[in-house]
Symmetry: D2
Subunit: 337 residues, 4 copies
């Protein structure tokens, strides 16, 4: 940790801080410069967190050297983690395609779309039963009924399921019906929920928050892993920027950087990441090329009648085109579909 003092700081100010660092068994360093005194603390600076050195009025800035996450870091765990999804897994040689409707709307709708995506190569089924919606007047999902339909689809088709959980109290119930619990973008900072899915022992798909930095995203994963559950898949789904021509800005830089920084699998959601049906296929190709471990996309047999997000759902034709177009890029990335 590097500590920059304000211009008027004295050597005595510096020594007081150095004493606190030394008391924590870190090696203190005194570096008086021409315009500023700079201090250093050598050792595992994470133990300094509770000193709150940045709160000292004489301190101008604290510059950490080490990131705060450990369990999810590739530095300490160099090998790729594979996370199970039913009988298959995410993070290995296979490029995982998970598809399905934004919301579970009815038995017919779900089974038909599940059959379609399975036939064309999807290895998992997505579908929302509890929908967090910006407006209180929008469709909020079928709830438990939706979960039962997901389970039925999996039982019939052998297509493991991913569905969003929005409250800690729902976790045990949901864990009975679905194979992977999804934390949505709006809940990435909902630490109680992160702890609850951490304790559940279920595989988790963690979506990046709308305006979460990569470091915060990793720390959210750290919350889950710190509860003893290392089965976490990270999902880049677009961030909020000034650009409004697309719903979000898909951050593929983040995918490439995450693959270097963490051993957890990373997938991409090009449906929410673009918000435009016509952009889902090119960005899916890009996701395969940048090194993602898979994609999760919205598909619907009749998007016109979708109860949510129909404008970004792929029709059967487009889903088929997606799989066909993906194939050579997945192969170029040295993987299989």
């Amino acid at each position: 940790m590097i500590i920059v003092l304000k211009p008027h700081a004295t050597e005595a100010d510096a020594q007081a801080i150095l004493a606190r660092i030394e008391a924590k068994n870190l090696k203190p360093l005194y570096m008086p410069g021409v315009e500023r005194i700079v201090l250093g603390a050598i050792g595992d600076e994470r133990v300094l967190a509770d000193l709150n050195i940045e709160a000292d009025p004489i301190v101008e800035e604290v510059k950490p050297i080490l990131s705060k996450h450990k369990l999810v870091s590739r530095e300490l765990h160099p090998h790729d983690t594979q996370v199970p999804l039913g009988n298959t897994q995410i993070g290995g040689e296979r490029f995982a395609v998970i598809a399905g409707p934004c919301s579970v709307e009815s038995r017919e709708q779900l089974l038909a779309v599940a059959e379609m995506v399975k036939a064309k190569g999807a290895i998992g089924l997505r579908g929302g039963a509890f929908k967090p919606r910006t407006s209180p007047y929008a469709f909020q999902g079928l709830g438990l009924e939706g979960l039962k339909l997901l389970k039925e689809a999996n039982d019939q088709l052998g297509l493991p399921t991913v569905s969003e959980v929005i409250s800690p109290e729902d976790v045990p119930m949901m864990a009975q019906y679905v194979d992977m619990l999804q934390i949505g973008a709006r809940n990435m900072y909902n630490y109680r929920l992160l702890e609850a899915v951490g304790q559940s022992g279920k595989p988790v798909m963690l979506k990046r928050g709308l305006s979460a930095t990569i470091e915060e995203f990793l720390l959210a994963a750290e919350y889950i892993v710190a509860q003893g559950n290392p089965q976490v898949v990270l999902c880049e789904r677009g961030i909020r920027t000034f650009e409004t021509a697309t719903r979000n800005t898909l951050d593929l830089n983040a995918v490439a950087l995450l693959k270097q920084k963490t051993h957890l699998p990373v997938v991409v959601d090009p449906s929410h990441g673009t918000g435009i049906r016509e952009l889902v296929i090119p960005l899916s190709r890009a996701a395969a090329a940048v090194g993602a471990d898979g994609i999760i996309v919205e598909a619907h047999l009749n998007p016109k009648e979708a109860l949510s997000d129909g404008h970004q759902a792929l029709t059967e034709d487009l889903f088929e085109q997606l799989m066909r177009e993906l194939a050579p890029f997945v192969a170029a990335a040295g993987r299989t579909l």
Copy 2:
């Protein structure tokens, strides 16, 4: 609602959509232009939400005319709402100053700072008992013990309290100890939590999410009010932008706009909004000038030893200076402290 069709749309495409609009008892409008067909739906377009017209592949863009929030809108409820905080209220002639530590850390700490801010003119006490922290390894608050201390402070000093609730299941318990439930910025999209505080009947301080638009902020308030609880105070606390010299970018445009759009009181948090102790006073002055109904600031008798956010906490001297400097600006705004 205005609906723009894609360039290749035909009149038949248009008529199909117009028929759906008419079926909802809205007046349909057909406007064929030189490069695009544009359609209109006249009437309360909110009833069209479940048609999901934007999902139709022939639709290029849907432009809503009316905002989705109603209960919080000043258009339908022109008079200012006042929200009770213990024996006082927020939203009237008085400019409310709520102050206290980021976290409740101990009985001594809390009572001392509460006494100090009360003596200098604060009308409410803030203090976190459940702390949502970015890192799982940071101090997470005293929990129930902290709530009891807040209640004790109020009992002793007559200073009503505001404290953050982070999980729906905690709402009934917290409602027994504090006067106003705070929804933190990280939980603004946590709709289960919004519904829970809506059902509690307790006054709520709702903080704007890190990257929430003003429209989303109002819809979050609408979630609470739609549960039958109109006692909501909005709090602008800075948004996330590209600028890193300050912790967040305090959006005072939003305060002025919110005062026009909604009847709910609006307060400002210059501590989180700047993240820099030296900027809290000038931005508090600006908050009074722009028309806010009050501020909520962090204060600590010994920020060096604060367990969280000490770098933005005001010391006793600075809190006194804040109140002294605020006075003429509050008077200029036609209010009292």
Copy 3:
């Protein structure tokens, strides 16, 4: 164009505006709704620009239907444009790789790196002679001397050149030495400069501004084309967002959307788009997959001694790896290197 009036607007207010629309020979439309009066203007709304309807105090919002750019729009010019770069061109079947140092530093440096990138498959040479730098104390480029070296490199190796122009008065001079004039991100809104390169008749590479929307980017291209110069290549080079782990956020959504909206070629700059050497290769692969017409990357034989941006320059080994890794993705995209 759709015009939403304020809640208190009267029919007379509406008629006054409709009369102005009619006077411009557009068809006016009156749509009184439950909460707002909405007006429409059917026809080529671009002729309404000088009415400044949004300035009328009774107008709440103006929603344009058509975008303001025409010449660059694919709607009106469906076929792909190819832009010449020396004897080759950008925008055809070939995926163009343009490479070279951030700055031209010396004859030896430039010729050596030019030879290297040519040998490995680059079809163009980039190199800055006039460098816009954030700090007035940073290296500002070799100027004319740098241009002469670029010309010498092209003469020797047959590798056409791209270099940035930063002032209208430099355009005629630069046009004598380089094959394509680059407008840097910082100058995308420098309309005098856009007009000057438009009048030069030289091929232009236009980089997207740091915080330019896709619409503004297309309008900047429109400035150039409107001067009679259709030879414009668009370059996505990352936008400024809240994320600081990467220098910029490369917006590949924008590339896919631009390929749909405009007939101009679109290339990607993964060096500036990431700012991190280790991310250049994966994002180059993604650029090929998303449908870009090429990439422009920084390469340097000895990045440690680069006078600018060395941290994102590819070494010889990495440039070779880039070309090797790109190959299957370019093939998957149905193109050749």
Copy 4:
């Protein structure tokens, strides 16, 4: 300067870098930690700029301690600078109100609005003669004719003028007609233009770029001052963020921070900063309260007919209300109007 090496760096790597630091006469520091080797350079690190240490592949990150700007820094020049505007100045006890139309449109328009704003207390007249417009088809200003009208207005009324310059070659000509040269937001990174106004010796109003950090803003001012022209007024005019309810997000945090970091005067443009006529007055009040040295606002006697930006221009009534409402806030700030 602090230098963090990559995890696999050796002591030899470190010594090579330290040798380069020592060769520049700075004191090198070696700090081997548990997970990273950290190096330091004590002394005026600005001399290290041309070492480009961040380009070394073994370097993970370089953390500067000192900012790159010097001439504009309050640390080295503690006293407030006052910048002349005709016979008056910006930066002293008086809170400067500069007002006028977005564009100079005609003799009648300009003289009438100039007379009005002068009568109500403005000390300067703004008006654009050369207008940088996003669309090539929008009104681009009257050019030289507009400058002559500005001069005539000043000659008749004694109201000094501010007008935007958009190209280096126009600087000498404009310097003959106006009292202060404005650099618009779109040109803040146009370094040739900054140098040209620096060399002109004329007072300059420098507007913050749409997405410029505070540090970049100060470095742009440094460009001007480094040419020997210390007469620079900084103008905060709103930044681009995700929020679209307002045209820009006015960053008053930046104003308070700039007043601490630099000795240059800082004014606020609430017209562009909000883009909404109804928000100009509350944000002007806030500007006075936060410590700005003045405001620059758009006013027009007939905004409906304004050729640009009419929707944010104040009418005569609103300008009068602005001055009346500003008065007590300016007084509360210890200044005069």
